[in-house]
Amino acid sequence: MKTLSSVRRAPLSFAAIVTVLACLFPVYWMVTTAFKPTREIQSKVPQLLPSTWTFDHFVTAIGSDGFGLFWRNSILVTVSAVVLALVVALGAAFAVARMQWRGRRQFILMVFIAQMAPWESLIIPIYIITRDTNMLDRLPTLTLVYFMITLPFTIVVLRGFIATIPPELEEAAQVDGCSRTGAFRRVAFPLLAPGLMATSLFGFITAWNEFAYANFLIIKEQDNRTLPVWLSSFQNVFGTDWGATMAASTLFALPALAIFLLLQRHVTSGFAAGAVKG
């Protein structure tokens, strides 16, 4: 009986291994190429593992022109967009989850539609509007766009988190003499903190990865570019230096990979669906 079940499970294990390999191989290949000496990268027969591990490519990538600057730009734009979205979304989510008002359903529908907004098709008008308002080549423009991209998702998720906190808790605080805002700040807010954290991390990834707007709205002012644009132009700068390119990719992908693994529980419960795609 036991042998039968393990024989019957063999195709299943095989399929599982194939799935794991297919998912991991590109990530694995990126990281190992980054650590390989150049002569092994440019060999006829690729090796699965580097024979000697080297940090040369990382040194090249980090030492390349403006890496620190672009890193700072990316962080600046991303963090300010996420914080802005969080503050705006918190108010809206509270109104949706806890209050009854006319137009509430319409507002929720608007948020859902905004979440599916075809940003790829808005590049042209946003480019023209930005140009007309003299906002081209400036980082606050990107902050505003990323704020709007992450806002709907943030509202939807925060609304869910707020709804899990029993309103009776705040009411008790109000009976004890807290103001309504005070009750929210002292009672509900601490309970919300983990949700806020997870939500902002997903917003962070979306903004961190965004390429199209960073590419088309920052044109002349090279010092205001962000990391995704830097990475896409990396090959043009370094030509066939694939080791350095892969090291740059690894450095760029690392925060996203780390955050996702950290939040795996949320990811597998389907909560990130709208956050990182689309």
Binding site: C23, P26, I113, M148, M246, A273, V276
Partner: protein
């Protein structure tokens, strides 16, 4: 994105509208507040979100539509004073053979991707349900890692893997005996570049779809399977008559999302091929941007964008209908 949330604890506690006690005024303190002031609060709270959406989303959309009705080239971009020309841009676009080729290619790209994504992710999801704990954790973790890979990084790695000289894919294919792939220049070949882009999009999309379908599958009661098997149902029959009807609502939602996401695929293409070689990978969003920002025909680019938005809104309506139907059922 709300598709799966409904079954997570987060949403489980959402109270149906109307049962929220906060605004019915149970505390004496709030009951004394003047009525108007109390009713303005929610509007004050949503105002920033509404204003942001109006300026950063609705206005650009309206502006795109307006530009698509104007004669808007480089001169108008610099000097302003664009003239309205009615539907002239749409007429130009629709009488252009290249435009129709792009539309057909976009639909082909979308169809290939969605079919592959749905088949693969359903198989992966069903596989996960049958795995023991260790295997399940391994597969889920690797799916999450592939999902987390930033588009730009993934696009760069795929370029390296399909590199003609030192790429690992050419090496693998040659060592399996396909000699014709020795130094095969993937990105110089229209069809090959198209295939690579499909592979990339499928690789990036399967994790989300598989994980979502897997969490839908966990809601299928085991007893149903057992009784169907006792009645002599085979594996395919079991899937078709028992499993699929239960996960169907979620399945349809995922299909809608994938249609929308693959239809507007842009970044991967722009980074890897910029629409080339020739026109082989020019899809609608790429075509619009090329027209506008490379040829300075902002009016035609805007018109192509509006066409894309219209097609997508059709799918979006289907998506929302499915979503609300499901919400009603629960």
């Amino acid at each position: 994105m709300t598709i799966v949330q409904k079954r997570t604890p987060v949403r489980a506690a959402v109270k149906p509208p109307g049962s929220t006690p906060t605004m019915t005024g149970s505390s004496p303190r709030r009951a004394r507040l003047p009525r108007t002031r109390r009713n303005l609060w929610p509007y004050a709270l949503i105002a920033p979100a509404v204003v942001g959406t109006a300026f950063l989303l609705v206005y650009p959309l309206v502006r795109a539509f307006v530009i698509s009705l104007q004669d808007y080239k480089l001169a108008e971009l610099i000097n302003g004073n664009a003239e309205f020309v009615g539907l002239e841009n749409y007429r130009t676009l629709f009488s252009d053979g290249r435009f129709w080729e792009v539309v057909a290619r976009t639909f082909l790209f979308m169809a290939c991707n969605v079919v592959l994504i749905m088949i693969l992710s359903t198989l992966v999801a069903m596989m996960i349900t049958r795995l023991k704990k260790f295997g399940r954790t391994m597969v889920l973790s690797s799916l999450v890692l592939a999902w987390a890979m930033p588009v730009i990084a993934a696009a760069t790695v795929f370029q390296w893997m399909f590199n003609s000289e030192f790429g690992v894919v050419n090496w693998m294919l040659t060592s399996f005996g396909f000699e014709q792939f020795d130094r095969f220049p993937w990105f110089a070949h229209g069809a090959a570049a198209f295939v690579i882009l499909i592979l990339l999009v499928v690789w990036q999309s399967v994790p989300f779809a598989a994980i979502t379908l897997y969490s839908a599958l966990t809601t299928v009661p085991v007893e149903l399977h057992e009784s169907a098997r006792l009645d002599g149902a085979g594996a395919w029959r079991l899937f078709r008559s028992v499993t699929f009807p239960i996960i169907r609502p979620i399945f349809m939602l995922v299909v809608c999302l994938e249609v929308i996401w693959t239809f507007k695929a842009f970044v991967q293409i722009w980074v890897i091929t910029q629409g080339g070689p020739g026109d082989a990978t020019t899809l609608l969003p790429v075509y619009a941007v090329q027209r506008a920002l490379s040829s300075q025909q902002y009016d035609l680019g805007a018109a192509a964008s509006i066409v894309t938005v219209l097609i997508l809104s059709g799918v979006l309506v289907l998506y929302f209908r499915q979503m609300f139907r499901q919400e009603v059922q629960q």
